[in-house]
Amino acid sequence: MLKILKDLSRKVIRSLFGPKKNIKIGFYGPPNAGKTSLANLLCQDWTGEDIGTVSEMPHETRGVSFKEKVEIKHKGKNLTFKFVDTPGIATRIDYEDFLKFKINKKDAKKRAKEATQGIIEAIKWLDDMEAVIVVLDSSENPYSQVNITIIGNLMARKIPVLLVANKIDLKKSNIKKVQAAFPEYEVIGISAKNRLNIDEFYDSLFKLAKKV
């Protein structure tokens, strides 16, 4: 009941004072799916700055990072976002997995510790998000425990979600499989690295903002 009243008052305020400013959007997903690549693309397009660094080595993003007041103009509409990039969520972090990227044992263990800390931090931040962009690697099996847990939790918390199937430039990419795994959500296939389908992504982003 309280929630209905809250939603109603939010809608009334919105209609009186225009669109909401600085919509908080979080980028969530498994490691190495391209969360930071996509967040960087958006931030570069509209602020000329990156939000974080990207790497082939998983768990490059180990802390939550923000970009405030990203004003996006798309097809005559204008919205302002706060983007929150989060570390990749995983169920197992093993420093030995990093050794093949030619870093030493000490740094690999440090990376594992920071990645674990980052996951706990990312999950803590979820409550502050008004909407979430879940970035998945479309060349990987979508039915993973991480994907199902993240999306199941977002659904339970009633946070609006846009599913991004990234890496559509890869041969193994399969957007249909992602769509079949999560039929409740709109899935948009993109390649953040090669800038494929980004205009359509902006359409979906504005649709997502409407749900907030």
């Binding site: 169920t91 093993d94 510790k113 674990t116 706990i120 939790n153």
Partner: protein, 126 residues
């Protein structure tokens, strides 16, 4: 549930003074909760236990303190291994369903400088 000292494996009943003041045999202040059943299994069959040397144990304690943001090294820490398991330094297993649970906070700061890192809950949302 009993508390077990990570450093010397001494076991204390829940609510024991040693958990606050430090382990009576090694003075350690890093404990974890262990169920009666698991404790029985370990005591009967040593192969069930994860082998860690002293350096590993110290490293794990300092990693846990850092992950949980507990700066005071004299504060006792009790870890609930249901959500974050550390099998060796640099090797972590995370139960993300538990981590996502909104029922309880990640780290409790109790009185007398005792911290309880409890990231588990039986009422998961996922």
């Amino acid at each position: 549930m009993p508390n077990r000292c990570v450093h010397c494996s001494a076991v204390y009943k829940d609510g024991s003074e040693e958990v606050l003041t430090g382990c009576s045999s090694c003075n350690g202040k890093f404990f974890f909760y262990i169920s009666e059943e698991k404790l029985k299994i370990i005591l009967e069959d040593k192969s069930e236990e994860i082998e860690l040397n002293d350096i590993d144990k110290k490293q794990i304690e300092s990693d846990v303190r850092e992950i949980a943001g507990i700066e005071d090294i004299n504060s006792p820490v009790v870890l609930d291994f249901e959500s974050v398991k550390i099998t060796k330094p640099g090797k972590y297993l995370l139960d993300i369903s538990n981590l996502f649970s909104k029922k309880r906070p990640l780290v409790y700061k109790l009185e007398e400088g005792k911290y309880f890192i409890d990231i588990s809950s039986k009422n998961n949302l996922a």
